[in-house]
């Protein structure tokens, strides 16, 4: 109460005259309130929000561990053509060499005499490629659908939500198998199929984010400034939805890699390339006698998925607004 009184007196030089008499042509610099305490105090150290986020990411133990692990796998994928220049599917040695039996084949050979190490290195290329590209497709489609639904609302939203639900009610792996079976299995079709079964996750998320964000004052401000819808969606809303999308996308890469492995295990992968899933599939019959044929690619898949999930967890900690980190 006391404070309000102070202000009331402070604000009223003279009751009922024109509020304040400002002489004509006041230059901003001569105006005393421009030197009010509030105007010039800006935090001394300018901390760039992006650099700060990157720093916080690197300091996060999950991201650091996951990132290190993933880097190893990426390096392996990059080195594959140099370490194992030949076709990893060609027979190079006596079948069923155990790991360590022959120094030239550190991880042994499979029942047809193919080098397991070459398969693992080349398989990394396929897995990462499909994981990343399929996720990009899923994320793009998901953002497009989710943003349209969340931003436009109304009957468009209703229709798109029904479509999303349609995709989500069908078990995604069954749908994936059907899609790949219809289109001949190849890296291209498998990638597209995985992208097409994973987009609803992103679409739901983006729709929810857009529904919240479009009501924010800064979006209202953008409208009042005469911005077009495209600009509002891309420049104003999407950047604020991005942290949630990135977190989900990192886990989606892992899911896509698992899906590809499962497809290949069932023999529905691209027959012309080696993949971790197909290695497990072909080693399956020998699991009693040569268990390393299934265990080694299995371990690699586990490590890759673990790395991506660790990164996803870390990203959630750092980027997710609900943990209370200022954005």
């Amino acid at each position: 109460m006391l404070q309000i009184n102070t202000r009331t007196t402070l604000l009223q030089p003279e009751a009922d005259t024109q509020p304040i008499a400002v002489s004509a042509e006041v230059s901003p610099s001569s105006w005393p309130n421009l030197h009010a305490a509030d105007t010039h105090v800006v935090s001394a150290t300018s901390h760039n929000i992006r650099r700060l986020t990157v720093l916080r990411l690197l300091r996060n133990p999950s991201v650091a561990a996951g990132g290190a692990l993933l880097s190893l796998i990426i390096i392996a994928a990059a080195l594959a053509p140099f370490l194992y220049p030949g076709d990893p599917l060609s027979m190079v040695a006596r079948p069923l060499l155990w790991p360590g039996q022959n120094a030239a084949f550190p991880f042994g050979t499979d029942s047809l005499g193919r080098d397991v190490a070459a398969g693992l290195f080349h398989g990394a290329r396929v897995s990462l490629l499909i994981g990343v590209v399929a996720t990009s497709i899923g994320v793009s489609v998901g953002i497009l659908v989710g943003a349209t639904a969340g931003y436009r609302g109304g009957w468009i939203d209703d229709v798109l939500v029904r479509v999303i639900e349609l995709f989500q009610t069908v078990p995604s792996f069954i749908l994936l198998v059907v899609l790949v079976a219809i289109a001949q299995p190849s890296i291209l079709t498998v990638t597209w199929a995985i992208g097409l079964v994973t987009w609803p996750t992103i679409a739901r998320l983006v729709r929810a984010e857009f529904r919240v964000l479009r009501e924010k004052d800064f979006v209202m401000a953008a409208r009042s400034l005469g911005f077009g819808h495209g600009r509002i969606v891309i420049r104003e809303i999407l950047p604020n939805a991005l942290p949630a999308i990135i977190v989900t996308a990192s886990v989606m890469v892992a899911t896509a890699i698992l899906m590809e492995a499962a497809l290949s295990f069932l023999g529905l992968g691209d027959p012309n390339v080696v993949s971790w899933g197909s290695m497990i599939g072909s080693g399956r019959e020998l699991i009693r006698t040569a268990w390393y044929l299934t265990a080694l690619p299995g371990v690699v898949i586990v490590l890759t998925v673990l790395a991506l999930n660790l990164i996803g967890d870390g990203l959630t900690d750092v980027l997710n607004p609900r943990t209370g980190v200022e954005r």
Partner: protein, 316 residues
């Protein structure tokens, strides 16, 4: 010279089957260079009125004539090009700035959208406006979270000013700020208004704030204007019992008595009966108030009131 003329404006929010008339037949005029204060308690529809005038919320009836052109009749694309002349300052300076853009981006984007092609020109105008609202020049490179509430509201004002509008609607621009900062922002608005010949529609629930800035005052209750008049008329000869109650509620150190509080809250706007909307809380309500809705009528030159019992006050 009338810049903005709103007649019989109605805004309806529908949720499910029920409809709320948040703004119910409001008419007002703002002249060039004039400041109109719009007061009323929370939930009375004053923010909605401001947003409806800018068509940020679509009106369900009435006309908005801005500089002779009916804004309600414009297509979305046509409206977009007119928007540079009507701007808004928002209540919450924390929510109204995009946290992912630098101040420079926030301030130069409107220029880019409205056809300022040259980057150097945009940069110059951003620097100008920052100086004008009293922010250091290096603010342009910083993000909103690096600023205090008062500074952010200065940025909000700068954003509203950068397109050189004729009318700014200030939606409770100081209610989220500390008291000392409020005074600075109000002084800034007063100075800008004078030097740029702006028209302001100043929305607030705080009479002392409105009193400081406004030439004329509109008092709003439950979607309607219940009294309008000049600064002096409203302040010294309030006619409507609601206005009187609002003025009595302003703390005054010279006054020894307590202000008699208005009984009750705003009624649910969905269940407005046939009579005067203020009748359930009105100290002088009679039978006629409960059955007949009073229309806004002239009580003196430029002074309008919607009350059946306004006359006695006029005589005395």
């Amino acid at each position: 010279m009338t810049l903005l003329s709103v007649s019989d404006l109605t805004t309806t929010y529908t949720s499910g089957r029920s409809a709320v008339h948040a703004v119910d037949g409001v008419s007002l005029e703002i002249a060039r260079g004039e400041t109109i204060g719009l007061v009323g308690e929370s939930g009375c529809g004053k923010s909605t009125l401001g947003k409806t005038i800018l068509r940020l919320v679509e009106p369900s009836g009435g006309r908005i004539l801005f500089d002779g052109e009916d804004l309600t009749a414009l297509s979305e694309a046509a409206l977009r090009s007119r928007r540079k002349r009507l701007q808004m300052v928002f209540q919450d300076p924390f929510a109204s700035l995009n946290p992912r853009q630098t101040i420079g981006e926030i301030l130069s984007a409107p220029l880019a959208v409205h056809g300022v092609k040259s980057r150097a020109e945009r940069q110059r105008r951003v620097d100008d406006i920052l100086a004008r609202v009293g922010l250091p020049p290096d603010s342009a490179r910083r993000y909103p979270h690096e600023f205090s509430g008062g500074q952010r509201q200065r940025i909000g004002i700068a954003r509203a000013l950068i397109l050189e509008p004729d009318l700014i609607i200030c939606d409770e621009p100081v209610s989220a700020l500390d008291l000392s900062v409020q005074a600075q922002i109000l002084n800034l608005l007063a100075e800008l208004k004078q030097s740029l010949n702006l028209s302001l529609l100043f929305i607030s629930h705080d009479l002392s704030v409105v009193r400081y800035l406004s030439d004329r005052v509109l008092v709003m209750y439950l979607g309607r204007i219940v009294e309008s008049g000049s600064h002096t008329q409203i302040w010294h000869r309030p006619l409507h019992p609601y206005t009187k109650a609002l003025i009595d509620a302003v703390p005054d150190p010279t006054r020894r008595r307590y202000a008699a509080p208005l009984p009750g809250d705003l009624p649910d706007p969905r269940s407005v009966g046939g009579g005067c909307r203020f009748a359930p809380r009105c100290p002088i309500a009679t039978e006629i108030c409960r059955t007949q809705d009073p229309a806004l009528r002239a009580a003196a030159a430029g002074h309008h009131v919607a009350c059946h019992h306004a006359e006695p006050a006029l005589v005395s």
